[in-house]
C-alpha cells in the first residue's frame, strides 16, 4: 500500500501544481485527473466515470478575484484512488469528493496566507535590489502547491483505503441512496453560481432559451455553443447600434 500511496500522491501533486504552481493547462480538471488516476491504477473506465461526474459538480464553479473555490483536483484524485482501491460504487464515490474538496480548499487558503510571508521577504530583497532572491521565492511558492496535492493524497490512500472498506460494510441503504440523489442534484449548485455571476434582468431570457432548446429539442452543447455565439454577436451589435442612436 505504501508504494501505491506514493504513486497516487505523486500524480495528485503534479495535477494540483497546475492550478497555481504552473501553467493553468487544466490537467487539474476532474475529467483529466480522473482519467490519469484511472490509467495509473489500471482502471481507466472508473476513472473516466468518476472524473466526469465530479466535473459536473464543479464546472460552473470559477475563481473570481480573491475567492478560492473548493479544490476539485485533490477531491478527484482522492475519490478516484479510493474508489478503485477499495471498490466503492463509482456512482457513490463522487460524493466523497465534496467534503474532500472543502477540506483541501482550506489548505489552499493556508498556503495563500503563508505566501504573505514570502511577499514580505520579497520586500527585503527588493530593497537590496536582489532579483535572483525574488526568483527563488517564486519557485518556493510554486513547490508549496505541489505539496498541497501530494500530502493529503498520500495520507488518504495510506490510511483511507482500509477505513473506507470497513465503512462500506456498515453504511445503511438509505444513506447510500441519499448520496446518489445528492449526486444528481449537486451539478445544479455550480450552475446556480455561474448563473448568479452572469445573469441580469436584461440577459436572463438567454438562459431560458438555452434551457428550452435542450429540454424540448434535445440540442447538445456544440449546437448550443453555435447558437450562443450567434446570439452574442447579434446582441452586442444591436446594443452598439442602440448606443449610437442615443449619442446622435
Amino acid at each position: 500500500m505504501f508504494f501505491q500511496a506514493l504513486l497516487v500522491a505523486l500524480v495528485a501533486g503534479i495535477v494540483e501544481w497546475d492550478i497555481y504552481g504552473w501553467g493553468q493547462t487544466m490537467i487539474s480538471r476532474p475529467i483529466v485527473v480522473g482519467a490519469i488516476m484511472g490509467l495509473v491504477l489500471g482502471d481507466l473506465q472508473t476513472g473516466l466515470i468518476i472524473g466526469g461526474t465530479v466535473e459536473l459538480f464543479y464546472l460552473g464553479v470559477i475563481p473570481v478575484g480573491a475567492a478560492i473555490p473548493p479544490d476539485a483536483t485533490s477531491a478527484t484524485s482522492i475519490a478516484t484512488a479510493l474508489s478503485i482501491l477499495s471498490g466503492i460504487d463509482p456512482k457513490v464515490a463522487p460524493t466523497i469528493a465534496i467534503p474532500v474538496a472543502m477540506a483541501a480548499q482550506t489548505l489552499q487558503m493556508f498556503i495563500w496566507t503563508v505566501n504573505i510571508g514570502i511577499t514580505h521577504r520579497a520586500d527585503k530583497y527588493a530593497e537590496e535590489g536582489n532579483l535572483s532572491g525574488i526568483e527563488r521565492l517564486q519557485y518556493f511558492g510554486s513547490f508549496l502547491f505541489f505539496l498541497q496535492g501530494f500530502i493529503p493524497a498520500f495520507i488518504a490512500v495510506l490510511f483511507g483505503v482500509d477505513a473506507v472498506k470497513t465503512l462500506l460494510g456498515i453504511i445503511p441503504e438509505w444513506f447510500m441512496n441519499g448520496l446518489k440523489i445528492a449526486g444528481g442534484m449537486l451539478p445544479a449548485m455550480g450552475f446556480a453560481m455561474l448563473y448568479t455571476m452572469m445573469s441580469s434582468k436584461k440577459l436572463a431570457p438567454f438562459f431560458y432559451i438555452g434551457f428550452a432548446l435542450a429540454a424540448f429539442m434535445n440540442i447538445n452543447l456544440v449546437g448550443a455553443a453555435v447558437i450562443g455565439a450567434a446570439a452574442a454577436l447579434l446582441f452586442t451589435n444591436y446594443m452598439e447600434s442602440q448606443a449610437d442612436k442615443i449619442s446622435m
Binding site: 487544466m26 473506465q45 473570481v64 530583497y125 517564486q138 438509505w174 438555452g210 434551457f211 455553443a225
Partner: protein, 276 residues
C-alpha cells in the same frame, strides 16, 4: 527630441523569455498582494537588461512588488504594455523621474477590467463549454473527453498568452486609451454572458438529474408523477432546484451551506422515497 526617443533594446528573445515565465504568474499567490511576485518574476529578464545599476534595479523591484491581481491569461497583455513602458523609462536621461507612478497606474487601471474579461469569457464561458463537452464523452467512458478538452484549451492557453503579450508590447501605453474608446470590455463581457447563459440553460436541462418515483394510485388507475411532469415540461425539477439555489445565493447564503442543505434534502428524500 524625436530622435532621442524610441530606441528599442528589448528583443524578441527577451519577450519569449517573459512569455515562458508568465506561466508562473500564480505561483506565490497570497492574500495580501496576490500575483505581485508572479508579475515581477515574469518581468525579470527585461529588468535585468534595462537596469544595470543597483539603484535603478531597486527602484524597479519596489515598483513591481506592489499588489497585482487579474485573470492569469490577462496578465500577459499587461506585461507587454509594462515592458514597453519600462523600456521607455530606462532610456530617459533622468531615470525614474515620474514614470514609476505612470507604470503603476497603468497596471492597476488595466488589471480590473481585464480580470472582468478573463473571468466572464475564459473562466465563465469557454471553460464550462469545453468541460461540458469533455464530461459528456468521459461519462460514456471515452478517453476522447479529457483529450479533446486539453487540446482545445491549451491551444487557447498557449496561443492567447503569447499573442496578447506581443500585442501589449506593440501597443504600449495606448492600450488603456483604445480600451476606453472601443468600449471593448463591456462588449466582450456582455457577449460572453449571452453565450454563457444559453449554454448554462442546456447544462441545467441535460446534466442535473432529479426525478421522483412517486406513484399516485386511485382505485384501479395509477399515475406516475414523473411522467406527468415530463409531459408538461421535461427537466422541470432540475430547473426548479437550480432556481431555488440561485434564490439562496442571491440572498447571500454561503455555497457550502447550500451544499450541506442538498445533502440533508437528499437523505430525507431517500428515507421517504420521494426522489430517486
Amino acid at each position: 527630441m524625436a530622435e532621442a526617443k524610441e530606441q528599442r533594446v528589448i528583443t524578441e528573445k527577451d519577450l519569449k523569455s517573459v512569455y515562458w515565465r508568465s506561466f508562473f504568474i500564480m505561483s506565490s499567490i497570497n492574500y495580501e498582494r496576490f500575483q505581485n511576485l508572479g508579475f515581477l518574476y515574469s518581468l525579470a529578464p527585461v529588468l535585468r537588461k534595462l537596469y544595470t545599476t543597483k539603484e535603478n534595479m531597486r527602484d524597479a523591484l519596489q515598483r513591481h512588488v506592489k499588489m497585482f491581481n487579474t485573470h492569469p491569461w490577462m496578465a500577459n497583455p499587461i506585461l507587454g504594455t509594462v515592458i514597453a513602458l519600462e523600456e521607455e523609462n530606462a532610456q530617459q536621461e533622468d531615470v525614474q523621474k515620474d514614470m514609476s507612478e505612470t507604470i503603476n497606474n497603468i497596471k492597476v487601471g488595466l488589471m480590473g477590467p481585464f480580470a472582468g474579461i478573463g473571468d466572464s469569457l475564459f473562466w465563465g464561458t469557454i471553460r464550462p463549454i469545453l468541460l461540458g463537452i469533455g464530461a459528456s464523452f468521459a461519462l460514456q467512458g471515452s478517453i476522447i473527453g479529457p483529450i479533446l478538452f486539453l487540446v482545445i484549451w491549451n491551444i487557447l492557453n498557449f496561443g492567447f498568452r503569447y499573442y496578447s503579450l506581443m500585442y501589449g508590447y506593440k501597443t504600449g501605453v495606448n492600450m488603456l486609451r483604445d480600451l476606453k474608446q472601443t468600449n471593448i470590455v463591456q462588449k466582450i463581457s456582455e457577449g460572453a454572458s449571452v453565450l454563457g447563459l444559453i449554454v448554462l440553460g442546456v447544462l441545467v436541462a441535460s446534466w442535473v438529474t432529479i426525478s421522483t418515483p412517486i406513484t399516485i394510485t386511485t382505485g384501479e388507475s395509477s399515475i406516475k408523477v414523473q411522467e406527468v411532469l415530463d409531459s408538461i415540461m421535461p427537466s422541470m425539477l432540475p430547473l426548479v432546484a437550480t432556481m431555488i439555489m440561485v434564490f439562496f445565493l442571491r440572498k447571500g447564503t454561503r455555497p457550502n451551506t447550500i451544499i450541506l442543505g442538498i445533502f440533508i434534502v437528499s437523505f430525507i428524500a431517500s428515507i421517504f422515497g420521494v426522489l430517486q
